[in-house]
Symmetry: C2
Subunit: 204 residues, 2 copies
């Protein structure tokens, strides 16, 4: 497959493909000779991954690069997933120890999750602290419902990614899955608010 065909196959302009090649997001094609290279279905998948991460999740090229370089280095899937999480959670490296929160502790205990330090756990603790800082309190019952919901899908997601064939698919599934579920909550919350508002108005 030549560059032009790759362009047609993915709906990405040749100029953009060249740009991604320069930026190291897309591995170079098999060089046939000085002025011809051939691209595989791997390239199609990678390109689709790049565009999904950009357009659906809104990652920037640096973030995407930090994921795909790991994939190209052939790191284990779990390490790859950890990086996807770091990026999607917009986790910047912690300065010093992240303080544990009662809310996160409670969730871990409720769900029987292993009580270990991880990037995700740090992110949770920091976010809970941020919510409380702006005056949003998190009653245990709410945490129970939230964590029950995510607990249910985490196992499922993991199966999918563990069984995964292609690295690009694994990344895509993990990143898009997380994003979609979080957005689903946003929409559900909006409908719930609208519903409550209607009720409040109709029965004053």
């Amino acid at each position: 497959m030549q560059l032009k065909e790759l362009s047609n196959a993915t709906g990405t302009s040749p100029a953009s493909i060249k740009f991604y090649l320069r930026e190291g997001l897309l591995p170079p094609g098999q060089s046939v000779h000085a002025t011809r290279a051939s691209y595989s279905t791997e390239h199609v998948k990678r390109l689709e991954l790049i565009r999904a991460l950009r357009q659906i999740i809104g990652l920037n090229l640096d973030q995407i690069r930090s994921i795909v370089t790991l994939a190209d280095d052939g790191v284990p899937h779990l390490a790859l997933l950890a990086q996807v999480q770091r990026v999607v959670l917009k986790l910047e490296p912690a300065v010093g120890e992240v303080e544990r929160t009662a809310a996160a502790d409670a969730v871990v205990r409720m769900r029987g999750w292993p009580d270990v330090r991880s990037d995700a756990r740090d992110a949770l603790d920091r976010h809970v602290a941020a919510m409380q800082h702006v005056g949003i309190d998190l009653p245990l019952e709410l945490l129970d419902r939230y964590s029950g919901a995510v607990d249910a899908i985490a196992g499922l997601d993991l199966e999918l990614t563990a069984a995964g064939d292609d690295v690009n698919d694994i990344i895509l599934t993990a990143a898009v899955g997380m994003h979609m579920h979080s957005q689903l909550m946003l929409k559900l919350l909006a409908v719930a608010q609208a519903s409550h508002a209607i009720r409040t108005l109709e029965a004053p």
Copy 2:
């Protein structure tokens, strides 16, 4: 309060404040005479709102303007909340009728929410369709847990906003609340995934 003082009070550069004034995000100060205007605590709050919407939620200036102009026009709080929802949900005007999904119908029935068309409901239907399109299925049990969680907080949020004193506070509470809850899910999901991954590894 003069421009310089407003700048000091909010940590925003005078140049940026001038820019927001030009852009119509910040209402002009009370003009004392040709070269002096005075700003109030209202301006401080508005400026804090603008910066929170930009930096925490990542809205662009167009989106922020679409909210604050409504606030300045003094529209009813419910209409204001609807606009905040539209922006935070990144809802673009529907082209034609949005097709209802079984999943959203099920949620509405489960929760006993009023079954009416709304922007939020449209957003939910479209999002559910998008999730199914990428191969994420939503079992009833999951929808039950998700919607149970949001149902619990929607009432609470509404009380807060209805009781609200300042429009800027209302907008801030609503927007930040939605965003924070959605991000909380993201973090919880990451912890759940990490937990499941650890378990899977420890007991192979």
